[in-house]
């Protein structure tokens, strides 16, 4: 059967700062919260119409999105850490606090 994706929800994962891929080198870990899942239940008339209008080539060479996205609605507080060179850094809007289909 087709892999059914869970609805859009907040997930969390403990990762090291280095694994965040932002270029910081630190063994400190952070609780990385992200949004995962589908937004099938949040499709609106807008989406259906946009899909239709685009398929009729009435919209060309434009980046449009005809489905809701599972995205953060708000973000956690800043996270600070000491890197491998004993410098402190603070990163904002790193972790999701609340997810939703937009």
């Amino acid at each position: 059967a087709r892999a059914r994706h869970k609805p859009c929800a907040l997930k969390e994962l403990e990762v090291s700062v280095s694994e965040l891929g932002l270029g910081y080198e630190s063994d400190e870990t952070v609780l990385f919260r992200y949004c995962s899942g589908t937004c099938d239940s949040a499709v609106r008339n807008y989406d259906l119409s946009l899909k239709s209008v685009r398929s009729r080539k009435k919209i060309r060479k434009e980046k449009v999105r005809a489905r809701p996205c599972c995205r953060p609605l708000s973000y956690d507080d800043d996270v600070s850490f000491l890197d491998a060179y004993n410098r402190y850094y603070t990163v904002n809007e790193l972790s999701a606090k609340e997810c939703g289909c937009v």
Binding site: G21, K51, K63, N92
Partner: protein
């Protein structure tokens, strides 16, 4: 002489009495003992000389002698550390024997010795176990004596010995006059290019064998004064003397003794005009106010020479070439009078006197702290006019204070053929994330019509990040200069104060991107980003 002793044995009642009203048992009580040569009056509560006696109250019954250690039998718990003021006449200052032990432990024989190096000014009386100082001490000779008190306790055939440090610190009095190290009492003070208020022109040093505590600071500063001796109001207005002092060490006879180094700096109290031109001798009287000996003061002399400085351009003219594809805010060059980079406290302003031609392409700007004028493309549309080839300007430099000014000629030569601008190019070079899109477009501040790609080292978060810039020479260089500050799109790498996403380090004053991870690019007036471009992923929309 007063002898403090218990007039009754303390019992539980006394201790309860002592501790009442205090939520924790009082372990220490401090008494002030006031000394007066005449019968005491109440109003002298505050002024009479006093010393402090601190009693340690141990709520316990006197231990049996047998249970006491040699240390407890011989010495109090307090460190044997004494302070004797220098220059005081000799006398007794301590008694080693403990009256209570002597009274309680009659069956023990307790004897003392005071071990010291040869020739120290201290004597020990075996009968009274008193220790006295045998001569006036001179702190400037030696400020610390370390002896050993040795005690032997005998009970029958048993014998125990114990030794403890016996330290004497010599307290200082102001008994030394100021003196000049190697006799230097004169210094030259030349004012030429640096004419700014606060400039230190010259420094002279005065020593004092006495200590000068830096706490509390103000009282120590008042102790040593430095006054300009003159009746010329201009001198008083134009110069001031700053005095700083710090502790140094002298070694009169091998032992380290603290003293003080006083520095007197002749400082400009206000900026001096470029036209001012004088030579004179300025005297400063240094006075040790607390020393009441004869040579309590020293005179310092500063040979002051105020040289005039000329406001003129070098005798060459300025000639800058500009590519016709340059865009607005392209920085063409800098204009500066002679020695301009050396000037301090001299406010030179630069101005382009408008030529009577229609090809008016460049402007001049000057930052608040800049000593030069920056020439930049102000109207890039003029560059496209074939008839505008070589434009002459007159540049005027004016000293704000003296109103003196000077002029020079500036020639701007337009060169290169105009090429068609790419469509869909952003107005800021910084928006491009890759070499290809960077160098196929122009943007504000470009000199040749094309942005330049700066390839970074790519390792971690580094100041050498990759980025697209109008001119690698000026952007990013860690300074949001006066031209770049005119528009956020010119060089956000130096000037952004917005959000920077990804691994980065902000610049001075939180301006710009000092260091970044991978490639840094910006959406002017919005965010900047620093990210590695090594994750190739498709972000599909609905239809990929």
């Amino acid at each position: 002489m007063g002898l403090l002793y218990l007039s009754k044995s303390l019992d539980r009642e006394d201790f309860n009495m002592l501790s009442v009203g205090n939520w924790m048992p009082l372990s220490k009580v401090m008494l002030y003992v006031f000394l007066s040569s005449h019968p005491f009056q109440e109003k002298e509560c505050d002024s009479a000389t006093r010393t402090t006696v601190v009693l340690s109250l141990i709520n316990a019954t006197a231990p049996a002698c047998g249970s006491l250690t040699a240390r407890q039998l011989c010495f109090t718990e307090m460190d044997l550390s004494f302070h004797i003021k220098e220059n005081k006449p000799p006398g007794t200052f301590h008694q080693l024997q403990l009256p209570s032990v002597h009274h309680l432990c009659q069956n023990l024989s307790i004897t003392y010795k005071l071990l010291a190096a040869e020739g120290l000014p201290f004597r020990y009386n075996e009968n009274t176990t008193g220790v006295s100082v045998t001569q006036r001490l001179d702190r400037e000779e030696r400020e610390r004596y370390e002896l050993i008190a040795k005690c032997t306790v005998r009970e029958g055939f048993r014998e125990m010995e114990v030794e403890v440090p016996f330290l004497i610190n010599v307290l200082d009095e102001d008994d030394s006059p100021p003196f000049l190290p190697n006799g230097t009492d004169t210094a030259d003070a030349v004012v030429e290019f640096n004419r700014k208020e606060g400039t230190v022109l010259a420094t002279l040093t005065v020593y004092d064998a006495d200590t000068t505590p830096i706490y509390p600071l103000e009282s120590s500063r008042k102790k040593y004064t430095g006054t300009i001796i003159t009746d010329d109001p201009w001198i008083n207005e134009t110069f001031r003397v700053e005095h700083i002092f710090e502790e140094i060490h002298f070694s009169p006879n091998g032992s380290q003794v603290r003293g003080t180094q006083h520095e007197y700096k002749l400082v400009l109290n206000k900026s001096i005009s470029v036209t001012e031109h004088r030579f004179f001798l300025l005297d400063v009287l240094v006075n040790d106010t607390e020393f009441n000996g004869p040579e309590r003061s020293v005179m310092l002399h500063f040979n002051v020479s105020i040289l005039p400085v000329s406001i003129q351009f070098p005798n060459t003219t300025y000639r800058f070439t500009v590519n016709r594809n340059a865009q607005r805010f392209a920085q063409i060059g800098k204009i500066c009078i002679e020695n301009c980079m050396k000037f301090r406290g001299v406010n030179i302003t630069y101005k382009l006197l408008s030529p009577n031609v229609s090809c008016y392409v460049v402007g001049i700007l000057q930052g608040r702290e800049d000593k030069y004028g920056s020439i930049y493309v102000n109207d890039s549309s003029v560059l496209l006019r074939p008839k505008c080839k070589e434009i002459q300007y007159t540049v005027q430099a004016t000293d704000k204070q003296s109103r003196k000014h000077t002029k020079t000629l500036l020639t701007v030569v337009l060169e290169g053929t105009v090429f068609k601008k790419e469509e869909d190019c952003p107005d800021s070079c910084a928006m491009s994330k890759h070499l290809a899109e960077c160098e196929e477009c122009g943007g504000l501040g470009v000199l040749t019509g094309r942005c330049q790609w700066r390839q970074g080292s790519g390792k971690g978060i580094t100041t050498n990040y990759s980025t697209c810039t109008p001119s690698i020479k000026t952007c990013p260089d860690g300074t949001c200069d006066i031209v770049e500050s005119k528009d956020p799109a010119i060089c956000p790498q130096d000037c952004t104060n917005g959000n920077i996403i990804g691994g980065h380090g902000k610049g001075t004053g939180n301006l710009g991107i000092k260091s970044g991870h991978g490639i840094c690019y910006c959406f002017p007036r919005q965010n900047c980003y620093c990210e590695k471009d090594d994750i190739k992923e498709q972000f599909c929309d609905e239809v990929c």
